[in-house]
């Protein structure tokens, strides 16, 4: 070792032997994107996320007030560090105009669900109707066997409703995925 150290004018010190490696928490992220409505833009976004080994949990897309520009909201469960990387890569896509992870930013989010619940007995019909009122949902279709309920709100609200009607039996369900938007002002109470 002496010859490596040369005349050992250099003193050896205790220094960290290991570099800190960033590791994030795995949780659900909400990513908001403004995109140009060009051929393949959704495929490109999906490929990028799948390429990280992540699944898209929720997705909503729709036109904005500007022609050819769409707003998209994505829900992805993933490591904070990897998601940060994904966001940077999404920004690099030619057809994305704005990309933001709004998970930790004050924002409004809504989702719509259609739930077809078995309501064959009068008791079930009463109970479900009562829940619909409490949750300010709406019944949009009725059959001798079922009610179809439309409910909008936050994920928690919709989940609570689903948990409550599940005992009656859910025949079918469809959810839109979240739409979300950053808040302009300071956070207000969320309904």
């Amino acid at each position: 070792m002496a010859d490596t150290l040369g005349s050992s004018q250099l003193s050896t010190v205790k220094a960290p032997l290991f570099r800190e490696v960033k590791k994030g928490e795995v949780r659900k992220h909400l990513i908001s994107l403004t995109v140009r409505n060009e051929l393949g833009v959704l495929a490109r976004i999906a490929i990028l996320i799948a390429g990280k080994g992540y699944n898209i949990e929720g997705l909503s897309v729709g036109e904005t007030h500007e022609k050819g520009i769409s707003q998209m909201t994505l829900e992805v469960i993933g490591d904070d560090v990897v998601i940060e990387q994904v966001v940077k890569q999404l920004r690099k896509l030619i057809d994305t105009l704005k990309v933001k992870d709004i998970t930790d930013v004050p924002h409004v989010e809504r989702e719509l669900a259609l739930i077809k619940v078995y309501t064959a007995t009068p008791r079930a019909r009463d109970e479900v109707l009562r829940l619909v009122e409490i949750f300010r949902a709406r019944i949009v279709d009725v059959s001798p066997e079922t009610y179809t309920v439309e409910i909008t709100g936050t994920e928690d609200k919709i989940q609570a409703f689903i948990d409550l009607v599940r005992p009656f039996g859910i025949k079918e369900m469809a959810r839109t995925g979240k739409v979300a938007m950053k808040r302009e002002s300071t956070p207000q109470e969320e309904d």
Binding site: A15, V21, G51, I94, D95
Partner: protein, 584 residues
């Protein structure tokens, strides 16, 4: 004036200054070939396989800095391009790929020679376009070139259905301004934040043991002058990646040569022990870092890169600077001069340089010489001497690639052209042809492996047809050598399927193709053949060097291991943990 879509393609290519394209025609792209023929203003090189055309376009782009263009027909023509597209994507090479597609009304019908090349290449292109209306054609072509060459460069594919090339339109070729306006979501960041630059300067001033680490981005930016100035002004030793070679002259006293898996002892020691690492246009690839937790474990890191997504991808960075490498370095140097900054610890810096000198003396890049068998490293050294270090070198992938990286000393950007990211065997010959066509005054040597050469060797005929005098030096070890080396070191010498002893007679093969062939079987033949080859300037030459079959590439840091586990050239002796010490 109304003209066919195919003519619009040619018009737009000329507007981009394209002089040469590489490709192979076929049904869906015939209109474009007809337009090329009628126009006569763009030279076309007929490759013998579309992969070859793709690598030629890459070699041309890598050697010149211009955008390369490769053309193929639909279906199999397009799929044959895929390896070259992925290669260009991994190494950020600006190439525009143009493919024919079945007519619009047949798309999605599994028509003859239909393939969804847009879907296939989505993850391996910077961007791709399917042309749906003839009116969009000129804008799309100009967008493709603009996207390919700006920011972090990369491949762009344009898929043109046959009916679009046949329709008539009087659409104008848009101006560059219009092109930029049409891409509101694409704004490459060039300037570099001044605050960040100042922070970087602070770290450079305070550092005791700094190292510059240059990657492919430093080559692309052609910032050699700025890098030399920075290194000399601040007395910072410089290591380059495989892709970064040529960004800093390797005969410079501050040059540490390559780092990483097959890096030099002194480069890896310097990186392991440094307290400041300045990464320029590099991306902390796993072949460079080894075990990331032990990569430059006590260093602060400055990272200058044009691609914001490269920063803090593999490693946490202290001072990120997003911007064009050349522009950022210029501003940094201006600041340095304006503030007339002085290094804070000149003595320690001097000692650091001296320490590195000792490492260089202790384990220089070397190999065991022989006068009986041809050592592969010897061949590279001889090529280096015979070409006075001024040739452009392209390579295949394997041991020969690493020897070409180690034993030829590179001094200018775009001099060393190889497949760094994808590691594509068969890259060398077609890339060499493209490079020679782009830089006809330079000697171009393809340092190839026998295995790699056999993957695209049909392109020798292309070189004969167009009188492209590339010199192919096959480092012939009758093995898939790099795989054999791993089997020797990590699989108890179980040589599974790496024997290439059944192979063509490369000299006869050269002759059969209309090229010239030479063979060297003993060390004394080597230089003679190279000199002989250098005299031939009207056709390609194949030199078949029969080298020591089981020579290995050292030093080597086994994959995923720390630099502390580097194996030196005698192959047996891993460095003792204690010798990788940390200085303070």
């Amino acid at each position: 004036m109304p003209r066919k879509g195919a003519d619009i393609v040619i018009e737009a290519l000329k507007e981009e200054g394209v002089e040469i394209v590489f490709g192979i025609p076929g049904g869906a792209i015939m209109e474009v070939y007809d337009a090329l023929y009628r126009d006569g203003g763009i030279k076309h090189i007929l490759a013998r396989h579309e992969q070859g055309a793709g690598h030629m376009a890459e070699g041309y782009a890598k050697a010149t800095g211009k955008v390369g263009v490769a053309i193929a027909t639909s279906g199999p023509g397009a799929t044959n391009l895929v390896t070259a597209i992925a290669d260009a994507y991994m190494d950020s090479v600006p190439v525009v790929f143009i493919t024919g597609q079945v007519p619009t009304h047949l798309i999605g019908n599994d028509a003859f020679q239909e393939v969804d090349i847009i879907g296939i290449t989505r993850p391996i292109t910077k961007h791709n376009f399917l042309v749906k209306r003839i009116e969009d054609l000129p804008l799309i072509i100009r967008q493709a070139f603009y996207i390919a060459k700006t920011g972090r460069p990369g491949p762009v594919l344009i898929d043109i259905p046959k009916d679009i090339t046949q329709k008539l339109s009087d659409v104008k070729i848009p101006s560059l301004e219009e092109v930029k306006e049409s891409l509101p979501g694409y704004k490459p960041h060039l300037e570099g934040n001044l605050q960040q630059i100042k922070k970087a300067i602070r770290l450079m001033v305070e550092a005791k043991r700094p190292v510059l680490y240059l990657g492919g981005g430093a080559v692309q930016a052609e910032a050699q002058k700025e890098l030399i100035e920075l290194a000399e002004l601040m007395k910072i030793p410089v290591t380059t990646t495989n892709m970064g070679k040529g960004s800093f002259p390797e005969d410079h006293p501050l040059a540490l040569h390559m780092l990483g898996m097959h890096g030099t002892y002194y480069a890896n020691m310097a990186v392991y022990n440094c307290d400041l690492l300045i990464a320029v246009g590099a991306r902390f690839d796993d072949r460079v870092t080894g075990k990331i937790e032990e990569f430059a474990p006590q260093a602060k890191i400055i990272h200058i890169d044009i691609d914001p997504a490269s920063i803090s991808k593999n490693i946490v960075v202290d001072v990120p600077i997003v911007g064009d490498v050349k522009i950022v370095l210029r501003r940094l140097l201006e600041e340095l001069r304006r503030e007339a900054v002085k290094i804070l610890y000149p003595e320690e810096r001097q000692k650091w340089i001296e320490q590195i000198e000792k490492w260089k003396k202790r384990y220089p890049l070397t190999y065991s010489r022989s006068d009986k068998v041809i050592k592969p490293q010897y061949v590279i050294e001889q090529i280096y001497q015979a070409t006075k270090g001024e040739a452009i070198i392209t390579t295949g992938v394997g041991q020969h690639q690493m020897w070409a990286a180690m034993f030829y000393k590179y001094s200018f950007p775009r001099q060393f052209i190889n497949s760094g990211g994808l590691g594509t065997m068969g890259f060398g010959l077609p890339a060499g042809i493209g490079a020679k066509i782009g830089r006809p005054k330079r000697e171009v040597f393809v340092i190839d492996g026998d295995g790699s050469f056999m993957m695209t060797m049909q392109e020798i005929i292309t070189a004969v047809q167009y009188k492209v005098p590339v010199k192919v030096a096959i480092i012939n070890n009758s093995y898939l050598g790099m795989v054999r080396q791993w089997q020797e070191l990590f699989y108890d010498r179980r040589y599974a399927e790496v024997d290439l002893s059944v192979q063509p007679d490369f000299v006869k093969l050269a002759e059969a193709c209309g090229a010239v062939g030479f063979r060297a079987e003993k060390p004394s033949d080597v230089r003679e053949i190279i000199e002989e080859a250098l005299r031939i300037q009207d056709k390609p030459v194949i030199m078949d060097f029969h080298v020591d079959k089981e020579e290995n590439v050292f030093p080597m840091v086994p994959a995923g291991k720390s630099y502390r586990e580097m194996i030196l050239h005698d192959g047996k002796k891993p460095i003792e943990a204690e010798t990788m010490y940390l200085v303070g």
